[in-house]
């Protein structure tokens, strides 16, 4: 193997332009897939950030409702007391929820608007960077990113649910590519929605030592008309929704990345094989078996792909750091599953790219050494 490795390595190193084209092409192709995966994983993280950080161990929703995004959940207000009565529940907080737009001047932004009871310890912003973490009547806490974009600050007013509210706090980590989260008082929310005696979700903190899944199960069994889920399960449902919505796009981009990568590597390895036909002939004349030459081709393909994969990985990792710093709401999350998938792509690309040149190598006539060529 060492002879094949040496020949492959030196062969690649000797043709720098070809190596750069090959590695660059693979890196670009694999970056497409990796970056897209990272974007969707980031969006999923952002979308579930409120569920994950609201402080609830169990989420109780209208029967059949299993997530937040693009759904409406309405429960009678009395359900909070019923939930509190279930064994293992330490605390239950009702929230009102709606997807709406918040507006300031010309800036309009889609937001999850949350109606929070006064003094609640669950459901509110988890990181307030300026102002208050509590909202009273006529007040609102908005995401810092929205405030910057809209040019509003503490003391300014923004439009929400058809009314105006005074900005009293700026939160961080509450914005995604799609929307942000805004917090108003529970009473304002109810009043703006016609004072109906309803809540959207009940957030539950379980007693110390209690299992959220078990408590959720008991709530589901003991309170009619609700669906109760542990935070992990509820978050996973939300994440699955994003994945389902993006599955086709991701699949298409995976195929595009795979095909582009395959074409680039196959072409460059093939061209390199053609360019080295005479040297392969020399090696054959000197006694190298076809197997050795096959290994040279395969190692060259594998090295090109491995380098391309590494560059793609570093590039995507760099993007995950740089993009949020550039003031974008876009978050990229590079996951192990995505890396493994793209790594598998790379391996298959290297394998397939080696197949075509192998025929060329097998057909090399060792007597080519006696044909006059360029002296080396």
């Amino acid at each position: 193997m060492s002879a094949a490795l040496l020949l492959a390595r030196r062969g690649l190193g000797r043709s720098r332009v070809r190596l750069i084209a090959s590695v660059g092409g693979v890196a670009l192709a694999l970056s497409l897939t990796l970056a897209l995966d990272a974007i969707y994983a980031g969006v999923a993280n952002q979308l579930t950030a409120y569920i994950d950080r609201a402080g609830a161990d169990v989420w109780v929703a209208q029967s059949g409702v299993r997530n937040l995004h693009m759904v409406a959940s309405w429960l009678p207000a009395t359900v909070t007391a019923e939930v509190e009565a279930i064994e293992g529940v330490a605390e239950a907080t009702p929230i009102l929820y709606s997807t709406d737009t918040i507006a300031a001047g010309d800036e309009r932004s889609v937001a999850y608007v949350i109606g929070l009871p006064a003094g609640t310890t669950m459901g509110g912003p988890w990181q307030v960077v300026e102002g208050s973490a509590q909202v009273g009547r006529g007040e609102i806490i908005v995401d810092r990113g929205f405030a910057q974009k809209a040019g509003v600050t503490i003391g300014d007013s923004v439009g929400v649910l058809g009314s105006q509210a005074l900005v009293v706090g700026l939160s961080a980590g509450t914005a995604s590519l799609i929307n942000s989260v805004a917090f108003i008082s529970f009473d304002d929310f109810r009043a703006l929605r016609g004072d109906a005696p309803v809540v959207s979700y009940v957030l539950v903190r379980v007693a110390p030592g209690a299992s959220p899944a078990a408590v959720a199960s008991r709530i589901g069994a003991g309170v009619p008309g609700v669906t109760a889920m542990s935070r992990e399960a509820f978050s996973a449902e939300e994440r699955r929704l994003v994945t389902d919505m993006s599955a086709d796009v991701i699949s298409i981009m995976n195929v595009v990345g795979f095909v582009v990568g395959l074409c680039v590597v196959a072409l460059t390895v093939y061209v390199a094989t053609l360019a080295h036909r005479r040297e392969y002939g020399v090696l054959k004349a000197l006694g190298a078996r076809n197997g050795v030459l096959y290994r040279v081709v395969m190692v060259q393909a594998a090295l090109s792909v491995a380098l391309g994969f590494t560059v793609a990985l570093l590039f995507t990792a760099l993007l995950t750091v740089l993009v949020p710093r550039a003031g974008s709401n876009l978050e990229l999350a590079l996951g192990i599953a995505s890396i493994a998938k793209v790594g598998l792509f790379a391996t298959v690309i290297a394998g397939l790219a080696s197949v075509l040149p192998i025929r060329q190598v097998a057909g090399v006539d060792p007597a080519v050494v006696f044909r006059r060529g360029v002296a080396a």
């Binding site: 060492s2 002879a3 040496l6 020949l7 030196r10 062969g11 190193g13 000797r14 005479r278 040297e279 020399v282 090696l283 054959k284 004349a285 000197l286 006694g287 190298a288 078996r289 050795v292 060792p366 007597a367 050494v369 006696f370 006059r372 060529g373 360029v374 002296a375 080396a376």
Partner: protein, 281 residues
């Protein structure tokens, strides 16, 4: 290294079929003994390289056979030929055919590695050979950084690294100037005489006739006139046996460039025949 005899028996090589077929080598027979230097000469297109390719197991004869110490290598399957090429033959080419991406040392060592030598051992063996050939200062150079003579010496080291019994050289001086070409030929002769290897050289360079034990003339794919070379034991000059002055001493025949040398030899004035023979140009 085991001394081996290479034998070509009635070999014919035909390219193509029917009316368009071309016979490159026609019914050629030849035996090369251990330690012998055979020079095959002839005009371009006479079939020299085709014959050399067949002798080196790179090409199979259409008719006839090639034998290496009794084994018919032309009848062996393709799968068995790489081992024979790797271990029994050393090739030297007109174009040197060094691997451009590898250093001088690697060009030689890799052939030993292909034959199964461990990397360290292969490099040691290559280093020793290259040093013996005066290339100790060039081990890490790339082929493109070498002169023609140096490249050919690297090619010779590569040909020797697996200790083959036969060296097959195709126009080894064609890309070299006269002085360097002569040095290379002396080196090949020394390899044959000092190490007991057979050396078959294909060339149309008349200047190298004097280093061969035997000169064969190939024309239109056939040997036309076989010229056997001998060394005058008195002056050391290479002479064609058929045209030389012949003499005998102690029941053994000798060939001389002139009557003067013969008389001197017969009269016993020359004490050390071997020493003079070794001193051939």
């Amino acid at each position: 290294m085991t001394a081996l005899t290479l034998e070509v028996r009635n070999a014919t090589k035909r390219f193509g079929d029917g009316d368009t077929s071309v016979v490159a080598v026609r019914d050629v027979s030849l035996a090369v003994k251990p330690g012998e230097v055979v020079l095959i000469m002839g005009p371009s297109g006479s079939g020299k390289t085709t014959l050399l390719s067949m002798m080196g197991a790179l090409l199979k004869p259409t008719e006839g056979s090639i034998h290496l110490d009794g084994t018919e290598i032309s009848a062996l399957s393709e799968g068995r030929l790489p081992d024979i090429r790797l271990r029994q033959f050393g090739f030297v080419f007109q174009d040197f055919n060094l691997l451009t991406a590898l250093s001088v040392l690697e060009n030689v060592a890799i052939v030993a590695e292909l034959a199964g030598a461990k990397r360290g051992l292969a490099r040691d063996r290559a280093k020793k050979l290259l040093t013996e050939l005066g290339l100790a200062e060039r081990l890490d150079f790339l082929p493109e950084q070498l002169s023609g003579g140096e490249k050919q010496r690297v090619a010779i080291a590569r040909a020797l690294v697996n200790d083959p019994a036969l060296i097959l050289a195709d126009e080894p001086t064609a890309n070299l100037d006269s002085k360097i070409g002569h040095e290379i030929m002396r080196l090949l002769r020394a390899i044959a005489k000092d190490q007991g290897r057979s050396v078959v050289i294909v060339s149309h360079d008349q200047r190298i006739r004097d280093i061969a034990d035997r000169v064969l003339w190939l024309e239109d794919g056939q040997f036309k006139d076989i010229v056997t070379m001998a060394t005058d034991p008195v002056c050391g000059m290479a002479v064609e046996r058929e045209r030389a002055v012949i003499g005998e001493r102690d029941g053994e025949a000798y060939w001389f460039c002139s009557r003067g040398c013969r008389e001197e030899f017969i009269s016993g004035l020359l004490p050390d025949v071997e020493a003079v023979s070794r001193g051939l140009p």
